[in-house]
Symmetry: C2
Subunit: 224 residues, 2 copies
C-alpha cells in the first residue's frame, strides 16, 4: 500500500509517519519508483505498536526506540532481552528525595521477605525506593503497612502476565508481548485500580457521599 | 522561616517556590516586612506534596492545582471530594483508537461481573477501554483473558488503600491521603510489578537467560 493508505489505516498523519521513519522507529517502505514507496501489514502493526506505547503507555519517542530495538533482537537470549526491555520502559525519576537510605533498606527487606531474585541495581528497585521516600517525606510513611498487599497483588499480576506472554511460543513475538503487556498493563492497572477505588469508597463512605452530592459532581460514585 | 531556609529544607529552588505561589499551588508566606515573607511547616509539607505529585506521580502543574483544590475542600462530603480528586488525577489519553465500541462493552461486562458500582462516565472507565482497544489493535487482544486476574489484584489493592486512608479519621487528612496514595501508589505498583516480573521471568526463563548472558547485561535478572 502507499503511504496515504497506511495513514488512513492507522489514523497516523503522513508527516508523523515520515518522522518515525527518520527517527528509526519504523522501517522505510520498499521503493517502487524513485519517489514512491510501498508499505505492508508489518508497517501497520508496527505503527499501532508505536502509537500504543506513546499514547497509552506515555513513553517518549526515544524510549520507544529503545524498546523497539529490544523487540527487534530475537537472537539474544530471552531473559536478556527482557532485561533490556524492562530497563528501557522503566520511567526515570527526576529528583532523589531525602531518606533514600532508609527507603532502600525497606525495599531490600521487602524483596528478601517475598523471595524475589532481583538485584539492587534494577531500575525499578530504585524507583520503588524513591516513591517510598517521597511518601515518607510528606508524612504518609505508614504506607509501608500495606506494602505486602501491593506485593501480593503484583505477584498475581506478574504470574498472569508471564502466562499470557508464554502463550506465544515464538521468541520474537514473546518479547513484543512482554513489552506491550508491561507498558499497556500499567495503564490497565491504573484505570482498574481507580474503578475498584470507587466501589471500595462507595462501600465505606457511600452514605456520607449521597447526603450532600449532586449526580453530576460525583463522577462514577454511582451509589445504587 | 525565610524563603531561603524553605528552599534548603525541601530542596526546591527559590524561583520554583515563587512560581508555585504565583500559580496558586502554594499559599503565599506571611509578610513580615514590605519585601520579606515568613514560611512555616505547613509550607514545607505542601511543597513536598507538590514535588511528590510532579516528580514521582508524573502530574502536570495544572493537574496538581486541581488535586490540591480538592484536598483543600474539607467542607464537601467525603465521597464528593474523592470523586473530584479521582477525576483530576486520572491522566487524559490523547487518541481514541479503533474498536472503542467493543472495548467499552468489555469494560461494561467486567464491571458487571465484579459487581463494581461505577458509572460509564467515570474517566477511568473510558481510559480502560482505550487501553484495551489499543491492545487489541496491535493484535494482543487475548489480553482480556487475564483481566480478572488484574481485577482481583486491583480489588485487593483498593481495599488496602481504603483501610490505609481510613486510619486517619480527620476528613482533611483523609482526602490528602487518598490523593497521595492514588498518585504515588501507581508509581509503587508500577515499580513492584516490574520487580515481580523479574522473579516470574527468572522462574520461567531463568535457564535460557543464564546461558547467553553476561552479568552486566541482565540487569536484575540475578539468577542464584
Amino acid at each position: 500500500m502507499r503511504i496515504g493508505e497506511l495513514s488512513r489505516e492507522t489514523g497516523v498523519a503522513i508527516p508523523t509517519i515520515k518522522y518515525y521513519v527518520r527517527e528509526g522507529l519504523l522501517p522505510a517502505g520498499r521503493l517502487t519508483s524513485p519517489n514512491q514507496a510501498s508499505y505492508d501489514d508489518g508497517h501497520v502493526r508496527r505503527l499501532r505498536l508505536i502509537r500504543g506505547l506513546i499514547d497509552v503507555g506515555g513513553l517518549s519517542v526515544s524510549s520507544v526506540r529503545d524498546v523497539l530495538a529490544a523487540v527487534d533482537s530475537p537472537e539474544e537470549a530471552v531473559h536478556d532481552v527482557l532485561g533490556v526491555a524492562q530497563g528501557a520502559i522503566t520511567p526515570r525519576t527526576a529528583a532523589a528525595p531525602e531518606g533514600m537510605e532508609r527507603a532502600r533498606q525497606t525495599v531490600a527487606e521487602l524483596v528478601r521477605r517475598r523471595g524475589w531474585r532481583v538485584e539492587p541495581d534494577h531500575p525499578s528497585y530504585e524507583k520503588l525506593a524513591v516513591a517510598l521516600a517521597t511518601l515518607r517525606g510528606i508524612a504518609h510513611g505508614e504506607f509501608e503497612e500495606v506494602m505486602d498487599d501491593y506485593a501480593e497483588a503484583c505477584e498475581r499480576v506478574a504470574a498472569a502476565d508471564l502466562a499470557w506472554a508464554e502463550r506465544n511460543a515464538e521468541v520474537d513475538g514473546l518479547v513484543e508481548r512482554v513489552v506491550v503487556g508491561t507498558v499497556l498493563g500499567d495503564a490497565v492497572l491504573s484505570a482498574m485500580r481507580r474503578l475498584a477505588h470507587v466501589e471500595a469508597s462507595a462501600r465505606t463512605f457511600g452514605e456520607a457521599g449521597e447526603r450532600g452530592a449532586s449526580e453530576a459532581e460525583v463522577k462514577g460514585a454511582g451509589g445504587r
